[in-house]
Symmetry: C2
Subunit: 189 residues, 2 copies
């Protein structure tokens, strides 16, 4: 049985093209050609180009939001929560590396309420992460560096993992999680 609708096919093809050239540089004709149909036919399945972007970005943003909420409700140490966040990013990267490009690079082309919702979700996510780091410093679990530097250095690595995972992605996911946690938490020296 085929559980993949035509609409979902279009979204998958679009995410691949968006990753390669960016949302603005991809035309509806490009997407249609990659599917072997004409551009006009796309509009039988989707309302327009914007819907493709907002579907890709908001879906993923919700995954991150739900994942972070789950981590926040755990009872372990702050370091174990950070480890869970790292694993969350790796899991999402492995499952949706194409769509992550849109989330990272093309979110600013969202319009109206979609843009507003995304920015809100991203801010909440960062604030939750920041809170874990601050508590970790207070509890003496983390080095007393500037919390923003810690937050940024971890988050920037995790956010761009998708760029690197496909190219060098021969590593087993569990090995990757183990090494990434070690490098990000304990450094390299």
């Amino acid at each position: 049985m085929n559980v993949t609708t035509r609409k979902e096919e279009i979204i998958v093809v679009a995410s691949r093209l968006f990753k390669e050239k960016g949302y603005t540089a991809v035309s509806m004709r490009d997407i249609a050609q990659a599917m072997g149909i004409k551009a006009a036919s796309l509009y039988n399945h989707i309302s327009g180009k914007q819907e493709l972007l907002s579907t890709l970005v908001l879906r993923l943003a919700e995954d991150f939001t739900l994942g972070m909420e789950a981590v926040q409700q755990e009872s372990g140490s702050q370091v174990s929560k950070i480890r869970k966040v790292i694993e969350l990013h790796i899991d999402i990267t492995v499952n949706a590396s194409e769509a992550l490009a849109a989330l990272n690079n093309d979110w600013m082309h969202l319009e109206g309420e979609d843009l507003h919702r995304f920015v809100g979700m991203r801010e909440t996510y960062e604030e939750n992460f920041r809170s874990i780091i601050k508590k970790g410093i207070e509890a003496g679990e983390l080095q007393p560096h500037h919390p923003e530097v810690i937050l940024f250095s971890i988050l920037s690595t995790l956010r761009t993992l998708y760029l690197w995972y496909q190219k060098r992605g021969k590593l087993d996911v569990n090995v990757l999680k183990k090494d990434m946690v070690a490098v990000l938490l304990r450094g390299i020296v």
Copy 2:
């Protein structure tokens, strides 16, 4: 005296707009409007939109290439070379944070020989960095993690620093260097 030519003004304005919306989403009309002139007038100073992109990207790529060559010729430990590379990225970020967006996100819109040159420079840069890390592991200066994980985690943080520097950039550059080196080398735990 005014050392800023009209052409340089256009490049600066374009880099700001490219950072905000991406190369493809910025029109010549946008750039002209931001300068208070008409689009056609831009062509008296530049050959076209492509020239703006290739100037921004290749200029910076050369800065990184020269900086890396200087680091490679130093005589210190591998860790001290990594520290120098981190400082190189921070210096360039502070001086050209707008243009870094084009280098990171829009290099794929370069054409012909410019694209080829950029990709070559980037590969050489990564190869040099990888070589420092491998020597560091061999010499026992660095933890024996997968070299690619170390390379990626440092480089992804440094490459996206420009996104974060402007927002939270109240930190003194020397404090930032110190904290960034500490976090990237020694971790946070």
